[in-house]
Subunit: 726 residues, 2 copies
């Protein structure tokens, strides 16, 4: 049993790029390993991590409505920490002590855990929160959990991009210092609040780099001498328009390199995992190949919920040569084929093929009509007419009702013409359907005067989005948008983790430091003002509003940090906080700016990379990349073959009802949609093969041809059968 489980493990390992040395080595370790590797355990990990992070909503500077007593949230925290400790114990049991302390991420987690434990106990004893900056380390527990692999990858990529980034950053800061010195020297020209000390000069130039104070910082000098604008123009041209773009270029370049390396190493890792599994599976009598029986045994461990039909089809798809045994070369495609989804091909082309003849002809006509270009263009023309005249008034023009009826009829026609299944399988049709249904609901809401549903009326202009599906570029853009969504979400999550850490630090140091009329000594007093002004005979509240950008609780902190990310007017928040605390607070804001700059630059580089690649890809293939049905590859199964397989299955495990599906359907299609992981990896494979310089390309190909040596030195005792089925 251990051997087959190791194989299974090798399988999932190959997929996830885990290290082989973390394999469980003995039955006790295996028990712990199995305990720690299922979705229930992963879920627990995730929830514990989330709980720890969410706790900061109710701790000391809490969101008013969610405030909890100290003993409540400290107990909750202790509970969560105990859970984390339990998880770590399982890991220790599975990995063994030596591997455990060699694993860097786990060690860091352990240290943070101990620290948090001590602090939580201290809080519980003192019944009051002390300065707990270490809470900023809490995201570690979340990031370490199995489901956050994408976030971990992003973080690794960010850290790998750092060295070149820092080089260019130094260049940036260097020019800043030079210009700061120059401006400080021409004190007779620049003597304003912005340049009165060397520190202020450099801070002003740092803010100027973000353009947040731009014309204002120039104005006093400009009003004194018109030529002083040259200083600012030269500074911005060098720093903002040249070096900042350079920063993007360097990050873009590093990002590409890292992606390529990652893909290469993952591919090699998968190959060695397959090698490993193959060596374990083959029987001694026939060491060169894998029989269906052996393969079936593997699949039952690797994917317990896969149907017998799919297992057989997978085997057939791997076995391209049609030989009785699966060779190692065939087996190498395992991860690609395992990602495919199998579905039986429908016998007929249309859902109405088996209806009576007259009905069939009617539906056939509708089908041809809705698929025609003319129909689509007419519908889009109408859309543009109807939408150009949209208004948000509550009076519905009769034309709107007419057009909406036409839409309704269109949807009905399409559903009947294409069949409900085919219709709803296209994202665009789904979109059409929901837009139309929403419009009808909006109309009903208006007719019956239901106040809370007015928001539906507001979404009316979304109908214009229909227009976008005509133009290829928009289709590309929107399709790519949907495809990139998972990756974008993981990048967003990474950003939120940075936000969280900064929010905790901000709350610990700057909670409740800004309030209305607080910063009267600073240069940004106006923005924090809240006074009653009498104009004529009316009293108006003159509000600066910036006191709302505070660190009073974690939600406010997040909004404040988002404002800092957008950069505009961020110096007002900085100066406000600085005037109420010390000059060192600026360090916090500047660090935050630089960190978000890194993350944002990587996001830009990622979007740029993905889109440019996609455009090249679709240009090369000429055909639209994502036709609604996806790419279809067929594997034909003859009736004889199916029956033979059925016999085999009946032999090994009699009474498996799912096998019946093999009978009756002669042909199966396998379709893979572009969204599944293996396809994206394939996509990247092609991508990196294309973009690598000649020398590197040959390297990859060589690596593919010569499989790395198998890590198992001694021959396996395979006589007991490759897998103990049952």
């Amino acid at each position: 049993i251990p051997i087959s489980n190791t194989t299974e493990h090798g399988g999932s390992e190959g997929e996830n790029n885990d290290k082989f040395f973390t394999h469980p080595r003995n039955p006790k370790a295996l028990a712990a390993y199995l305990f720690a590797h299922n979705h229930l355990f992963y879920m627990m990990e995730l929830l514990t991590g989330l709980l720890l992070m969410v706790l900061s909503l109710s701790e000391a500077p809490a969101v008013p409505s969610l405030r909890l007593d100290v003993y409540v949230h400290a107990t909750l925290e202790l509970l969560a920490l105990v859970m984390v400790a339990f998880e770590l114990c399982m890991k220790l049991r599975w990995l063994g002590f030596h591997t455990f302390i060699r694993h860097k991420r786990t060690m860091v987690k352990t240290c943070v855990l101990l620290l948090q434990f001590v602090e939580a106990i201290v809080v519980l004893i003192r019944q009051t929160s002390h300065l707990r900056v270490t809470r900023a380390l809490r995201p570690i527990f979340l990031v370490d959990c199995r489901y956050c692999g994408a976030v971990r990858r992003n973080l690794r990529q960010i850290f790998q991009s750092l060295p070149p980034f820092i080089d260019i950053l130094l260049l940036l800061l260097f020019f800043m210092v030079i210009f700061g010195t120059v401006s400080y020297c021409f004190v007779w020209l620049f003597s304003s609040q912005y340049f009165n000390t060397l520190e202020n000069s450099i801070v002003s130039l740092f803010v100027l780099l973000t353009t947040a104070n731009f014309p204002d910082v120039m104005m006093p000098a400009y009003s004194r001498n018109r030529w002083s604008c040259v200083f600012f123009i030269v500074y911005l041209s060098i720093e903002l328009y040249f070096i900042m773009n350079l920063l993007l270029a360097v990050v873009f370049d590093t990002f590409n390199g890292v992606e390529k390396m990652k893909f290469k190493s993952l591919m090699l890792h998968k190959r060695s995992a397959i090698d490993h599994a193959f060596q374990l599976l083959v029987s001694r009598q026939r060491p060169m190949g894998l029989s269906l029986k052996q393969f079936d045994g593997l699949m039952r461990f690797y994917r317990p919920r896969m149907s017998a039909r799919d297992r057989f089809l997978t085997y057939k798809a791997l076995n391209t040569a049609g030989a009785p045994m699966l060779s190692l070369d065939d087996f190498y495609k395992f991860y690609e084929v395992i990602g495919l989804k199998w579905k039986a091909r429908r016998s007929g082309e249309h859902w109405f093929d088996d209806l009576p003849h007259t009905t069939f002809l009617i539906f056939k006509g509708i089908n041809l009509l809705v698929k025609s270009k003319a129909f689509q263009y007419t519908m889009c023309k109408w859309t543009s007419i109807i939408s150009s005249g949209f208004s948000s008034s509550r009076i519905v023009p009769w034309s709107y009702i007419v057009f909406l009826t036409i839409y309704g009829v269109e949807v009905l026609l399409k559903v009947t013409g294409m069949g409900p299944l085919a219709y709803f399988s296209s994202g665009w049709n789904l979109f059409d359907f929901f837009v139309t249904v929403f419009a009808f609901l909006g109309l009903i809401a208006l007719a019956f005067d239901m106040e809370p549903f007015y928001f539906i009326v507001v979404l009316r202009p979304l109908q214009l989005l229909r227009l976008f599906k005509i133009k290829q570029r928009y289709r590309n853009v929107l399709d790519t948008m949907f495809e990139l969504f998972p990756r974008m979400a993981s990048l967003g999550l990474t950003l939120i983790i940075f936000y969280y850490s900064f929010a905790i630090v901000g709350m610990e140091f700057f909670a409740d430091v800004v309030y209305p009329n607080c910063c009267n000594t600073s240069t940004v007093a106006d923005s924090y003002r809240q006074i009653n002004v009498t104009i004529g005979n009316r009293t108006v509240l003159d509000e600066g509003y910036y006191y709302l950008n505070n660190f009073d609780n974690i939600l406010s902190s997040f909004v404040t940090l988002f404002e800092l990310t957008v950069v505009n007017n961020w110096y007002i928040t900085m100066e406000g906080v600085t005037s109420m605390t010390t000059h060192w607070s600026r360090l916090y804001f500047m660090t935050f700016y630089i960190v978000t700059m890194v993350v944002m630059t990587i996001i830009v580089a990622f979007i740029l990379d993905a889109f440019v690649f996609r455009m090249n890809y679709s240009r090369k293939n000429k055909e639209p990349l994502l036709d609604p049905e996806g790419k279809v590859f067929e594997a034909e199964v003859s009736r004889d073959e199916a029956l033979a397989t059925l016999e085999l299955y009946k032999q090994t495990c009699p009474g498996l009802s799912s096998l019946n599906s093999l009978q009756g359907t002669d042909t199966h299609t396998r379709s893979h949609s572009f969204t599944n992981l293996s396809q994206i990896q394939e996509w990247y494979a092609e991508y990196s093969r294309e973009n690598l310089p000649q020398s590197d390309r040959s390297l990859v190909e060589r690596e593919l041809e010569i499989p790395p040596p198998c890590p198992d030195p001694e021959p396996q005792p395979n006589s007991q059968g490759p897998l103990s089925i049952n």
Copy 2:
């Protein structure tokens, strides 16, 4: 004679991608052609164009110190226009009427010229300037001149990037309208000055897209309900962080495609020009090859100032096979080889090789010392020490003097050790030299208390730049910066041309509309305020300064437009002007924003492209891309060969003193620095060949193998000799 001149013309045509159908067809046309194609004429074109543009400094809303009377500047304008008309006449004469009206650019120029003529005469008659928006078209005269080819190319590239750009822009505007409608519907939440009408909503969202009004626009709603921030966060995430990056990606992609196409077409054009020239040059007896004599004749027309030595070496470099005649295949490399610079190889390695032995040993030692790594590192350490302690005070610490002396000695050592020529041929050494000299001058200025030279002292921190030459990345960055400079300059010039047109339009409509305390009815009244405020017992001038951002003359307009380009707080200028004129003024500002966005995006795309390519290139070659001596390729010339050539030359044209240089030097080196045009084109060639997908690459190669058919149908009467020498 016409034939040889056509050949010469074919030569320069091939280089510049002019169309072949613009060839002069008869002797009269040729005379006009020759007249219009020399540097004197080009200079005249340039100066006329510049004069017309500079005139706007002195016209109606003039810079005070440069104001001219109406009759003066109108007369100057007429004069310049007459010059342009004269140039056009020459062109008409050369091209013939039919070609002339087929040439689009020339036709546009003619129309603009006629319009300007009429307007200038009207101004002269009425003695007052009317609304002359057409002055915005003046840059056409400058752009059309021969020296502004780079700017024309940029403009073409911008126009070619427009269609995809506009597509994405529409997407951007579409979402803006949707969000605008939504915000206008939730009027109970958003009812502030920013969202009180639908127009204001959309304008606010447009400004928000540039982040210029960010936290402010959110604040009123945020103070009412904290969750309203979601609206703004979603809007910015979609518009700013996604679609704007998409815009960059699309422009980047189109830009790459256009560059590739341009390079391909230029290469093909050059080939057909060479074909053409070859057909004209070969004699009837030997139609397969070109003799040295024929080649020499060509070169004397093509490059009259090239020395006989260089002509011979060029021939030899082309003639790689060593055959007596130059084949067409050899001749195809013409443009590459013609860009090479030839210099005789020095007999010895060092300049001091022929000095007496003792002196030689001393210099040899110094040479070894200054080239050693240890020496360089020591100097850099010192620099970092000295620079870290720099201050802008006038008291010079003694350590500074000591280190400066060391620098002086270093420079002296290097000059003597490497020889002045070798020393100054490296840009980094030149930089070192000037920094040291400046530092000394600054010291002298301080010592003798010469006020106006204090600025030199300020440049002291520039010494830190020395540190950058150690790290490869910085060397790469700075070297690339210098290489890209010409292209960046042309992009900058293109931007200035857009600025000019917008400045003229701005001046015509918005001159003198803003002044202190002007915009009291608008939301930005504070920024235009200039009032005396009494605080305690002091009277302080409370200045908003924004009235300085006006369109009162062309220089102010340029500064204002630069501020609009930087984007921050641009809406204050927009709202100020709008409040004093009509709502339609916003159109001007928004159009300007979009235009600069296009140009800036292209600049970013260009920098990105160039740097990423360069990094890949230098990574591929591993060796530093620009070793100080450049790539050196040697062509050895034996003494016999040299004498034979000399004989030949003496035969054809006796008494040419420049030939003497052939004797005495046995070996010549040809070195090409990376900065010359042909190299950069070669660089691009490699670049595009590498980046093209496989199918395109084979296309290029096929195009290279099968030369396009020669455009000349009838065989040339070559019996009179290929070129009439003397």
